[in-house]
């Protein structure tokens, strides 16, 4: 027993980890007391034999295993696992339609046979717009989903909410999980530059900057006020508006914020009216959009309204504002719902067939807009799909366009190389809720 211990410790130092096998086979291990020289010679022979056996075993394991891609998280010979979180319940639930829109695109692609011989398995999780839940979902996506090892999704697509996404961003990046198209237009996705994160949503700051320019230069409004939601989304809108006005050496005539939970906006409306604004830019959620229009209409304040693409679901807005949304100028990040674009025609037909219960609204097909570039990347990456091959493929996208803005990525030298969507177009809402296109795609981010 003592000898066996001595032999083990000696061998660990001198011969590395191969010895335990030798120990099991060698008479030394059984402590029979042979001569020292004889023992060394036997040891050498045994070691040689063991090394050869181990090498053969390793080669055999390597050859027997499936192709390299099977080792990749979320990718098998026949399947690619992807995930998305989105609020299906709670106050932000209308934006949950985005994640369901992605589901439609996954179904369409799978119906067509998948990409490079692989079909997609899509995991949609409800985070109720609560960052703590999003973090848990991100962990589930990386560590648990799927039924074979290594578990986890290959990539995350979409995902509504700045705060929600921010709780998951670093975790996903540390685990080298590709993430394509977070559904908000903030700088947090591209600064600092993240190797595995590709932003699509046009930046709110640039969008607001250019929308103000459109009101100021094209339409001639000089007294501009801002009504915004008091969070990152609203504040980045304010940033862009003020940046533009600073360039013109003027400032906003009023800057009115609302808390997410506010339901009484009568004071806000009164302050906007008293500012004497000719035009008001709104960076808010649909409920606030409806409430502020009703309150301002009550007190007879009727400026030119303009808003971001987050309120571009004009069919919904015209309905909940009882027609007050008519005349609204808004920017758009995707084709209009009734567009004759061949892809829109195809998606609308698939929607009728595969998800007739869903309303064909902007939020719903935004789920397609933010997922299309991901699938194009998978297509270009070819059969050997890994995060690295996918990233290389994404970096070849130059003005590539589905139903959203033209997408361009490059090797990341500046944050803008990871900002795919840099264009919007402007439209004016007609009384029936449809949008009259005012411009073609305009580049808002240089």
């Amino acid at each position: 027993m003592h000898q066996a211990k001595w032999t083990l410790s000696e061998t660990l130092c001198e011969k590395g980890l191969t010895y335990p096998l030798t120990l099991a086979l060698s008479p030394v291990g059984r402590g029979q007391g042979w001569g020292k020289n004889l023992r060394k010679e036997e040891d050498k022979k045994m070691l040689k034999r063991t090394l050869v056996s181990l090498s053969l075993l390793l080669v055999a394991i390597f050859l027997m295993s499936a192709p390299g891609s099977a080792q990749q998280r979320g990718v098998t010979d026949t399947e690619i696992l992807i995930g998305q979180w989105g609020p299906q319940t709670g106050p932000a639930a209308p934006w949950g339609a985005v994640a369901r829109g992605t589901d439609l695109l996954v179904k369409i692609i799978n119906e067509e046979g998948g990409i490079n011989g692989r079909k997609f398995k899509y995991f949609l999780r409800d985070d109720s717009y609560q960052p703590a839940k999003t973090k848990a979902i991100a962990k589930e996506f990386v560590e648990q989903v799927g039924d074979r090892d290594p578990r986890g999704v290959f990539a995350v697509v979409g995902g509504v909410g700045v705060a929600c996404g921010m709780t998951a961003r670093d975790y996903l990046m540390e685990n080298k999980v590709p993430w394509c198209g977070p559904v908000t237009g903030v700088y947090e996705w591209i600064t600092p530059i993240q190797k595995y994160l590709f932003a699509i949503y046009p930046l709110y700051d640039d969008e607001a900057f250019n929308l103000t320019g459109y009101l100021y230069e094209k339409l001639g409004y000089k007294k501009i006020a801002m009504f915004y939601q008091n969070d990152d989304y609203g504040k980045q809108g304010v940033m862009g508006v003020e940046r533009y006005l600073l360039k013109k050496k003027i400032s906003l005539v009023a800057k009115i914020s609302a808390e997410v939970t506010d339901r009484d906006l009568s004071t806000h409306a009164l302050k906007l009216k008293n500012s004497g604004a000719e035009a008001v830019i709104m960076w808010a959620m649909p409920t606030h959009g409806a409430l502020i229009l009703a309150e301002t209409a009550k007190i007879g304040f009727k400026p030119q309204w303009a808003t971001s693409n987050t309120l571009s679901d004009s069919a919904l807005m015209i309905q909940i504002t009882k027609g007050l949304w008519s005349g609204m100028i808004n920017s758009n990040f995707g084709e209009l719902p009734d567009s004759n674009h061949p892809l829109m025609v195809k998606y609308r037909e698939a929607h009728k067939r595969l998800a007739p219960q869903e309303r064909w609204g902007v939020f719903y097909y935004a789920g397609i807009i933010f997922a299309e570039p991901f699938f194009e990347g998978v297509r270009r990456a070819g059969k050997n799909l890994t995060p690295e091959t996918w990233i290389s493929a994404m970096e070849t996208l130059k003005n590539w366009q589905g139903i959203g803005p033209p997408i361009t990525y490059s090797k990341p030298k500046t944050p803008m190389d990871r900002q795919g969507g840099k264009h919007v177009f402007y439209g004016k809402v007609k009384p029936d809720g449809t949008i009259q296109k005012l411009t073609d795609w305009i580049q808002i981010t240089k």
Partner: protein
């Protein structure tokens, strides 16, 4: 601006008061704070919406059917959830109302979806009356009127009817009330039914003022609770006064101090009142049970 802020404050305060009244009715009889009040009102409003939008039922009949539904919903909750609680404490019952609130919220999202909707209402929320420069929308005007009438009717009911007296007796001492021949269990069910009906009125008016969606009552409920604390959780006129005061204070604060902290005023008032006068402004006395 001052006059307009006060008028707008009164209008929004009327909505707070309606919800506060609904909460007070239950509190007066059982000392339970019903945190499901908002969602019960929301569900009743969705039922009204379905009747109007899908079945094109005339508005008057919609109101009748909605009240009927609200009554049944209130009784259902009392019978199925609260009455089944074993040796319930007040805290336990409040927790049950929180659970019911979540169930109703989930149900609404599943049944009607998360999208905002416009609630069809016979009175316009845009057209307004102009009293010497003070503008009040027609719906705001009617909300104030409905609140005052409802409060007055309920006040008379509690003060002068046998049933109202029985409800007050049940609140003061359930055992003594039972000894005196009052069917206290039935009284409790009836209380929840009335409260749910008042909540339905609040729900329909609030939806007509803004939009109808599952979380629409979250903010009004908290403000209603603050109104109750301000005016007195056992006083019906107190809640109406509390609602009006809260609406005005909020508007004045938003107008002259800070819009960002406008919503926080309600919570500051709750804390302040509980420290200075826990019974509220108009409640006669604060009875602490031991």
């Amino acid at each position: 601006m001052l006059g307009q802020l006060i008028v707008s404050g009164l209008a929004v305060g009327a909505c707070y008061a309606l919800l506060a009244i609904a909460m007070v009715i239950i509190y007066k009889t059982s000392e339970v704070l019903n945190f499901a009040q908002g969602e019960m009102a929301m569900i009743s409003t969705y039922v009204a919406f379905s009747l109007l939008d899908s079945y094109h039922v005339p508005f008057e009949w919609t109101v009748v059917f909605t009240f009927l539904f609200a009554i049944l919903l209130g009784m259902f909750f009392e019978l199925v959830f609260l009455r089944q609680a074993k040796d319930p404490t007040v805290i336990g019952l409040i927790i049950i109302t929180l659970g019911f609130e979540m169930i109703l919220m989930g149900f609404a999202g599943w049944k009607w979806g998360p999208d905002q909707r416009s609630f069809p209402f016979p009175v316009s929320n845009i057209e307004a009356y102009n009293f010497h420069g003070l503008i009040i929308s027609k719906i705001n005007f009617w909300t104030i009127l409905v609140t005052l009438v409802l409060m007055f009717v309920l006040f008379l009911f509690f003060r002068y009817t046998k049933l109202g007296t029985a409800m007050r007796a049940t609140q003061q001492n359930q055992l003594a009330a039972r000894v005196m021949g009052i069917r206290t269990k039935w009284i409790l069910s009836f209380t929840w039914a009335i409260s749910s009906m008042v909540g339905a009125v609040a729900g329909m008016l609030i939806a007509a003022l803004g939009v109808l969606d599952p979380p629409m009552m979250m903010d009004p409920l908290l403000k209603g609770f603050a109104s109750g604390v301000l005016g007195g959780m056992t006083s019906l006129p107190g809640t109406a006064v509390g609602g009006a005061m809260l609406g005005i204070i909020e508007n004045l604060f938003g107008g002259y101090v800070s819009l960002a902290f406008k919503s926080a005023v309600a919570f500051a008032i709750i804390v302040l009142m509980l420290c200075i006068k826990p019974s509220g402004l108009l409640a006669k006395h604060y009875v602490k049970k031991v």
